[in-house]
Amino acid sequence: MKPILKHMIKTLFRMILLLIGVSILTFILVISSPIDPIDAYLGAETNVSQEQRDNVAEHWGLNKSPVERYLTWVTNLLHGDMGMSITYQMPVMQILITRFLASLTLMSVAWLLSGVLGFILGVLSGAMEGSAFDKGVKIFCFVLSSTPSFWIGLLLLMLFSVQLGWFPIGFSVPIGKLSSEVTFLERVHHLILPAFTLSITGISNMVLHTRQKIIDVLNTDYVLFAKARGENKWTIIKRHGLRNIAFPAITLQFASFSELFGGSVLAENIFSYPGLGSALSAAGRKGDLPLLLGIALCSAIFVFVGNLIANLLYGIFNPQIREGGESR
């Protein structure tokens, strides 16, 4: 048990160091933008005197050095205060929580969909290597990996929402309804197209990875021996294949959080889904610095959690680390 613990602590430490770096990076990027935060805050009210502007600057600590500003921001952040969003006129924290939950629903559905579908397709095509089905799946994946997900979303929207009218054009709930009145089915109805669009991003990676792994397993000596014992192909895959490939596949899926989030920014914008992604582009357009900073950090934490889980799983499932040998 001890080596696992050591591995976990090491991973955790590295990840925390990384998180600090990400917060510094986003902070530098956001504060060096040409948009003046005071202008952005005051908006159209131009009859504000220089003195008042200086007051605001002093109140926000804009006249201090970047290092001090960063430290102030971090201290406030640790107290749960991330400032006010100009776009939504609400505390950033509140926006992040509600929007992140909406995004999380969308992303987890897409994540599961792409993982399960990709895994099944990968196992089938790997088991039938060289068949017409395998070739079809390979071409499908090749085309899919070159296709921008927002174009797929656009086409789906045109076909199913505009032409056929099966699905709503956007938003996560029907317009003009109170959130307490919205039924579960209505939510699902609004989720299907965005989730499907988003799952497209991850699926081809998953299929190709699983397919290659299955082929590798089927070429090993222990599979040859199992064949000699008289086991048929699907039993072999069930007994020797799935065990070997399921965990790397799960790890891979956790490590893909970065692309998942990136894809959700595009998918949410197409379907006007009120999640973090659409808030991000709204914040960018309005120069809403606190919200931008909050979302960037939120996305980094999201990716960080995915990588952390992937790393920990890797440690748990990899006997070399589990039993104390140095990996790599």
Partner: protein, 280 residues
């Protein structure tokens, strides 16, 4: 059976060279056509608004009467050029950092690895939007953004390639003859990583093009009046309720084809430069 197959594919290399040349030619034609194209061809023509695809307008026309075929060509050309520029900058960054990390080693290596992890720790799309936002959008924002987000993967590849030959006999011998670290790096190590570098560079193009289109689509990339792929598709989204399906379908399909061509190009160049990868 295997022997027969071997006989049959003995001139595979020639075929690969031929295919590679065809792909390069196709991409060049699109890129150059976009540059030399007469701008009048995709200018608004109010007499032919909202036309369905036909022989005179293969991709139809939009609500301003602009011919979508020529607009797509122009957009693709812009995308290819921007993608290539940004990917090249990014690849050279990766080459430099990878070489630096592996040949100096020690704390330099750790710093580079830390930055690799750092830039991979924020989703590309978010980082792209932030960088583009910081630079005030436009062409500069897109190119710098893509260049700054795409180097980490290739840096890792090049770093591990250099690690492989760092202690090879010919490198050690050269050091013993008094060559400096920089001389060794340029004379012996760069030629060794060149194949991986070129493959990595070409495989960066499709990513760069897709990210450029995505960023512009969201409104953080090229200006709205530029005939870029992202602009064309975001206009199609705005007018989605009008049912003009050809506005989104054809330009997007062209984009997919160009990205696929780049992907294939990378694959073929990989086969040519690194023949052992053909067995994979």
């Amino acid at each position: 059976m295997k022997f027969v197959k071997f006989q049959h594919t003995s001139n595979l290399r020639k075929k690969t060279v031929l295919l590679t040349s065809i792909i390069i030619l196709l991409l060049l034609i699109i890129a150059i056509a976009g540059i030399v194209i007469n701008p009048e061809l995709y200018e608004p023509n109010y007499e032919s608004k909202k036309l369905v695809p036909s022989f005179t307008h293969p991709f139809g026309t939009d609500y301003l009467g602009r011919d979508m075929f020529y607009r797509s060509i122009k957009g693709l050309s812009t995308s290819i050029l921007i993608g290539m520029l940004a990917a090249t900058v990014s690849a050279f960054m990766a080459l430099f950092l990878g070489l630096l990390a592996a040949s100096v080693g020690g704390w330099v290596d750790q710093v580079v690895s830390y930055f690799v992890d750092l830039f991979m720790g924020v989703p590309h799309m978010v980082l792209l939007m932030l960088i583009s936002f910081m630079l005030g959008g436009g062409l500069k924002g897109v190119v710098v953004g893509i260049a700054l987000t795409h180097w980490p993967n290739l840096t890792r590849v090049i770093r591990s390639e250099v690690m492989e030959v760092r202690n090879a006999h010919y490198v050690l011998a050269s050091r013993k003859f008094g060559a400096s670290k920089i001389q060794v790096a340029i004379r012996h190590i760069v030629p060794h990583v060149m194949p991986q570098f070129i493959i990595g560079l070409i495989l960066l193009f499709p990513h760069a093009i897709l990210h450029e289109a995505g960023l512009t689509f969201l409104g953080f990339g090229l200006p709205v009046d530029a005939p870029a792929m992202g602009i064309i598709l975001s206009e199609a989204l705005k007018n989605i309720a009008t049912g003009m399906w050809w506005l989104a379908f054809f330009p997007g399909a062209m984009l997919v084809i160009v990205v696929m061509l780049f992907d294939k190009l990378g694959e073929h160049v990989k086969l040519l430069l690194d023949p052992s990868s053909a067995q994979e």
